[in-house]
Amino acid sequence: MKILLNLLSGLMRSVRIWKWILAVWLATLLLVTLFTFPLKTGINATLGSSMITEKIAAGHFFDVIVNDGFNLQTVLAIFFSGLFLVVFAGSILNIFFAGGLFNVLKEDGRRRGATDFFGGAGSNFWSFLVISIISFSVIFLLALIVAGIPAIIAVSSDSDLILSKTMKIASVILMILIPAVVIAADYARAWQVTSNEKNAFRAFGKGIKLMFRSFFVSYISVALILVINFLFSFFAVKGLLYAKASGGGAIFLLFLYGQTLAIIKIFIRSWRYGVVTSLYESFH
C-alpha cells in the first residue's frame, strides 16, 4: 500500500511539473539537433544529386558509404567525435536539470516556478555532478567485480559456453545491484535540494542511510520504475529502428511519434525522482 501511494504521489508530482519536463525535452532536442543537422547537410551535399540514396532505403548502406565520393573516414571522425560530445553535453545538461526537477518536485505547500527550477539546477549542479560521478564509479566497480573477474577466469577455460553463462549470471546480479545505487543517488539528491550544505559526499552518505531507513519500499518502488523504464526504452528503440517511413509526411509523423517517446522517457525519470522525494518527505 505504501509502495502504491508513493508511486502515485510521484506520478502526480511529475504531472504537476509537466512544463519543466517539456523544458528538459526541448533543451535536449536543440542540443542533439546542433550535432545532427550539420551532419545531415554535409551528407546531402556529399551525395549531391545521386540516386544512390535508393540503396539506403533497401538497407544496403555499404554500397553508399564505401565509395570514392564518400569520405568515410572524415564522416566517421565527425560522427563519433560529435556523438561523444553530444552525449557528454547531454548528460551534463541532464545533471543540471535534475537539480531543477528535484527542487520543483518538493511539496511543502509553496507553488514552485522558474526561479525554483533554475535556482535548484544552478545551486545544486556541482554537488549533483559529483553524486553522478560517484554513482557511475560505483556501478563501474560493481561491474568489474561481478562480471570482469569471473570473465577473466572463464576465458581461460576451454569452453565458450562457460564464458557465456558466467556473463549471463553476472548481468543478472548487476541488474539486482544497480537499483540500490540509483536509490542512494536519488535520496542523496532529494536531501541535497533541501539542505543548504552543498556537499556531494555527505549527500551520498545521507542517501545510503535514507535508503536503509525504508529499504524494501524504496527498492521495490524504484526497481519497478527502472524496469518500466527499461522495457519502455527497449520497445521504443526497437520500434523506431524498424519503423519504415518513406513519404515526406510519414517521416514527419514518425519524428513526432519519436519525440513523444522521448518526452515520456523524461517523464518516467521525473516520476522516479518524485517517488523518492515523496518517500523522503514521508520520513519527516
Partner: protein, 667 residues
C-alpha cells in the same frame, strides 16, 4: 635417391612399379577411385604417432617422386614447412613480423632422424637446407638432397625417412593449444618438378619455394597412406578415408587412412570434438565441432552442401566420396579457415546470430578450395589469385545465391551486406589498391596488399566480367577450365586462354576476338574504374528570336515562348579512371519512358542527346551495379530532382535515438 639408376621406358613405368614395389607402395591399388584421377607423381606412406605431452609427432615415411620429365634431374627438393616456426629469423617470421615465441614449447620444427634411399643408403650427408627465394641463412624450410646419381627420365626416387615434427604453440594454420592439435604442413614434402613447358617453365626445374609469411602451397596430386596413433580418448579428423580404427590396448588407438589424388594431407586431434555425419549424393560428410556450438552444426552442414551442389553444377564434379571439416575450438582458432581438399577448417562462435553469415561464408570458401587449390591445384606461391581470388569469386556467388541476393554476409532487416560488397569494401577502401597487379608472387605484394589484391580485387574483376558476359557464360568457361585442367596445375595464362576461347565461342565478336583487353586491364593492370554522370541539361528549343535580313533591311523577330514545346536533353558522361569497360546507361524521361544506351566506355567524355517533347528525369550508369570495379557508385547516377527522403528518414530517427540514449544513461 633414384632407384638403381635404371632407365625405365616411360610407358612401362607403371607395370614395373607394380612388379617391383608392391611391398613398399600400394600406389596402384585402387582403394577409393577405380582409376587414378591424376598422374600421382608423388606418394607418401606415413606412420605417425602423436605424443600429446611433448607436442611431437613422430613419423616414419616412405615417399616417392617420379621423374616425369625428359630431364636428367640431379636433386630432389622437399618442403620442411614446420621449420618456419623455429625462430624469429625464418623467412616466415621476418615477413610477418613477430616471433613464434621464446620458450622451447612454443617453437615448431621438423627434424630428420634418418633419411635413406630404398637400398638403405644414408642420404643425410647429401641433404642440405637451401633458401632459393631470399638466401636467408636462418631459413630451413627447403631441403635439397643431391642424388648420388641424377634421376633419369622415368626414374622413381624413393626416400625412407624418420622424422619428428614439433608443433608450434602459436597456431598459424598448424600447431597445438593445450590438448588441441592441428597437424598440417607437418611432413617432409616434395616440391613440384616442372619440366620445360609446364606453366611458365622455360627449362625444367624444381618449383619448391620457402615458407613465406603470405603464401600458400603448391604440390603434386598424391596418394597418401597414413596411419595415425593417438591416445584413445582423442577424436581425430583427417583428409583421408578411414579404412580401419583399432584400439592398441595400451591406451592408444590407431587410424588407418588413405587418400587419393589430393595435394596435401592434414589431420586434427582433440578429445573435445563432437562428431556429426551427413551425406550429399556420393559424399560422406563428417563434421567435427566443440559440442557447445551444436546449434551451428546444421548451418555448417547446409552451407557445405550448398557449395557442393553449386560447384558441381557450375564447375565440375567433386570426385571424392569423403569430406571432413572442422570447426576448431576457440583455443585453436588459429587453425580455422584453411583448406586441405578433403579436409578443411571453418570458423564460428558460440551464439552467433543467424543473420551474421560468417560461419557459412567460411565453410563455403574453404570447401571451394577443393576445386581451385585441390582439383586444379595451381601454384599458390606464384599465382595466389588463381586459387584465392577465383575461389572468393565462387564463394560470393554461392553466398549471394543461397542466402539472399544482396545479403550473403549480413541478412538483417536493418542492414544487408552482400558477400560481394564485402570484397568491394576492402578494395575501394584500400589506400594501396593500385600498388600492384594480380600478376605477382604472393610474398612480393607490397604494403600489405596480398589478401586485398589476390582475394578481393580478383573476385571483383571476375564479378565485373560476370556482369559483362553473364553468369551462364562464366559457368561455361569454368566448366571448360575444369575439363581441360583438372589435376594438371594450370597457370594464370591457361586460365585466360580458356576464357579467350569459350567467350568468343558463345558471343562471336561481341566482346572482341579474345578477352585480352579485359585481362590486361584487370588481372595484369593496376588502373581503377570510375564512370560518372556529370550533368543533365534539359533545354527548350526556342522559336527563332533575333535579327534576320529581308533583302538589305534588318528586322528583329521576338520569340513566341508560348509555342516552345520541344526539348533538347543531354546527359553528359565522363570516364574518370584508367579502366575502359563497356557500360550501360539507363535514362528516364519525365513522361515515364526509359531508354537503355550502350557505351564502349573508351572515350573520356560521352554525351547522349535527345530532342522531343520529353525531358530527362534521371540517368544511371550501370543501373544494375554489375560493374563492381567502379570505385564510386555515387557519381554513377544523377537525378534532376534528387530524393533526399531516405537521408532525412535516417536523421529523423537518429535525433530521437540519441535523445533516448542520453536520457537512458542519465541518472
Amino acid at each position: 635417391m633414384i632407384f638403381g639408376g635404371n632407365i625405365i621406358p616411360k610407358g612401362k613405368i607403371n607395370i614395373l612399379l607394380i612388379l617391383l614395389f608392391i611391398p613398399l607402395f600400394n600406389t596402384e591399388a585402387q582403394v577409393i577411385f577405380p582409376r587414378p584421377l591424376s598422374q600421382r607423381l608423388t606418394g607418401y606412406r606415413i606412420d605417425a604417432v602423436l605424443d600429446p605431452l611433448s607436442k611431437i609427432v613422430k613419423g616414419k615415411m616412405e615417399a616417392f617422386w617420379v621423374n616425369n620429365s625428359s630431364d636428367l634431374v640431379p636433386d630432389v627438393r622437399l618442403h620442411m614447412y614446420l621449420n618456419a616456426f623455429s625462430s624469429n629469423r625464418t623467412t616466415f617470421y621476418r615477413e610477418r613480423g613477430g616471433s613464434p615465441g621464446s620458450r622451447e614449447e612454443d617453437l615448431g620444427w621438423i627434424k630428420l632422424n634418418s633419411i635413406k634411399d630404398r637400398n638403405g643408403i644414408d642420404l643425410k650427408e647429401v641433404a642440405k637446407y637451401i633458401s632459393p627465394d631470399d638466401g636467408n641463412p636462418d631459413d630451413r624450410t627447403v631441403l635439397q638432397i643431391i642424388l648420388p646419381r641424377p634421376a633419369n627420365p622415368g626414374d622413381t626416387v624413393y626416400l625412407i625417412v624418420e622424422f619428428e615434427s614439433k608443433l608450434p604453440s602459436n597456431i598459424v594454420r598448424t600447431g597445438y593449444s593445450d590438448d588441441f592439435f592441428f597437424v598440417a604442413q607437418w611432413f617432409p614434402k616434395f616440391g613440384v618438378y616442372e619440366p620445360a613447358g609446364m606453366r611458365y617453365a622455360a627449362t625444367g626445374g624444381w618449383n619448391c619455394h620457402q615458407f613465406h609469411g603470405n603464401s600458400e602451397f603448391y604440390s603434386n596430386h598424391s596418394v597418401y597412406d597414413v596411419t595415425i596413433t593417438v591416445p584413445e580418448n582423442y577424436v581425430v579428423g583427417t583428409g583421408g578415408m578411414t579404412l580401419e580404427e583399432k584400439n592398441n590396448g595400451d591406451g592408444t588407438k590407431t587410424l588407418v587412412t588413405r587418400a587419393e589424388d589430393i595435394v596435401d594431407y592434414a589431420w586434427t586431434a582433440w578429445p573435445g570434438y563432437a562428431v556429426f555425419k551427413d551425406k550429399w549424393n556420393h559424399v560422406d560428410i563428417t563434421f567435427l565441432t566443440p559440442p557447445e556450438r551444436k546449434n551451428m552444426v546444421q548451418r555448417h552442414l547446409t552451407a557445405v552442401k550448398y557449395a557442393l551442389e553449386y560447384l558441381t553444377e557450375n564447375v565440375g564434379p567433386f570426385p571424392w566420396p569423403h569430406l571432413t571439416f572442422v570447426d576448431p575450438p576457440s583455443k585453436g582458432s588459429g587453425a580455422g579457415g584453411m583448406e586441405y581438399t578433403t579436409l578443411f577448417t571453418t570458423m564460428s562462435a558460440y551464439g552467433l546470430p543467424e543473420y551474421i553469415l560468417m560461419p557459412e561464408m567460411v565453410t563455403v570458401h574453404e570447401f571451394g578450395h577443393a576445386y581451385f587449390m585441390g582439383i586444379l591445384a595451381s601454384n599458390e606461391f606464384e599465382e595466389p589469385w588463381l586459387d584465392e581470388g577465383v575461389n572468393s569469386y565462387w564463394e560470393e556467388r554461392i553466398m549471394d545465391h543461397y542466402y539472399g541476393n544482396g545479403a550473403g554476409m549480413i541478412n538483417h532487416p536493418l542492414l544487408k551486406i552482400s558477400d560481394r560488397s564485402v570484397a568491394r569494401v576492402s578494395y575501394v577502401m584500400s589506400p594501396s589498391r593500385q600498388a600492384e597487379s594480380n600478376a605477382q608472387w604472393s610474398w612480393n605484394y607490397p604494403h600489405g596488399t596480398y589478401s586485398m589484391l589476390s582475394y578481393q580485387k580478383c573476385a571483383l574483376w571476375l564479378q565485373t566480367l560476370t556482369g559483362l558476359v553473364g553468369e551462364e557464360a562464366m559457368n561455361e568457361a569454368f566448366r571448360e577450365y575444369y575439363r581441360q585442367w583438372a589435376f594438371k596445375h594450370p597457370s594464370g595464362q591457361d586460365f585466360v586462354n580458356v576464357f579467350n576461347t569459350v567467350i568468343p565461342k558463345i558471343y562471336g565478336n561481341r566482346y572482341g576476338s579474345n578477352l585480352n583487353w579485359f585481362f590486361d586491364q584487370t588481372l595484369y593492370g593496376t588502373g581503377i574504374c570510375d564512370y560518372k554522370v556529370v550533368n543533365i541539361i534539359n533545354r527548350k528549343v526556342r522559336d527563332y528570336e533575333g535579327a534576320y535580313f529581308v533583302n538589305d533591311s534588318l528586322e528583329v523577330k521576338k520569340g513566341n515562348y508560348k509555342d516552345d514545346t520541344l526539348w533538347v536533353s543531354t546527359v553528359q558522361l565522363e570516364r574518370n579512371g584508367e579502366l575502359m569497360l563497356p557500360v550501360e546507361i539507363l535514362i528516364r524521361f519525365d513522361d515515364g519512358s526509359e531508354t537503355l544506351e550502350q557505351w564502349d566506355g573508351r572515350s573520356r567524355v560521352k554525351d547522349f542527346t535527345y530532342t522531343g517533347t520529353r525531358k530527362i528525369q534521371w540517368a544511371k550508369i550501370d543501373p544494375e551495379y554489375k560493374n563492381m570495379m567502379d570505385v564510386n557508385y555515387i557519381n554513377n547516377s544523377m537525378s534532376v530532382k534528387p530524393d533526399r527522403k531516405p537521408v532525412r528518414s535516417i536523421f529523423s530517427k537518429l535525433v530521437t535515438q540519441l535523445m533516448l540514449f542520453i536520457e537512458f544513461i542519465s541518472l
